[in-house]
Symmetry: C2
């Protein structure tokens, strides 16, 4: 079974990576890019029987810095 | 309008970040984590009228290194 975790900086937290991408896209002639936020996606291959609660615990303890980051968990078969 | 781009290393390309996460989860007592791949997610705020083709061009030219990375684009209103 698989889990996909998205980790994004919270709104209001400065995102220099995203800002660099926005600036670079503008410099390359892509108009109309109003904002860019960059985050992480982590795909986990899990043994059968793993639960969303376990993945949430992984996020709380390791995958996300919950002071400045939000995360979402999606499970799939 | 918004676009979300996922950039993941291609299968077969070594992913040391993912491997480090897998190892750390095992050391923390999370059993049954069989594999971890880590990638990037980029959320773009775009002006009205932006097309998926434009975002694909951004991926090809800047957001992804297509030698070693795959990307997917999702558009939403």
């Amino acid at each position: 079974m698989k889990a996909r975790v998205h980790v994004m900086l919270k709104n209001g937290v400065l995102d220099p990576q995203g800002e660099a991408v926005r600036h670079a896209l503008g410099a390359m002639g892509f108009d109309g890019v109003e904002g860019v936020r960059q985050g992480k996606v982590i795909e986990l291959d899990l043994a059968e029987g793993a639960t969303e609660a376990q993945v949430t615990e992984m996020c709380e303890r390791l995958l996300a810095n919950t002071v400045i980051e939000n995360y979402t968990v999606e499970m799939s078969a």
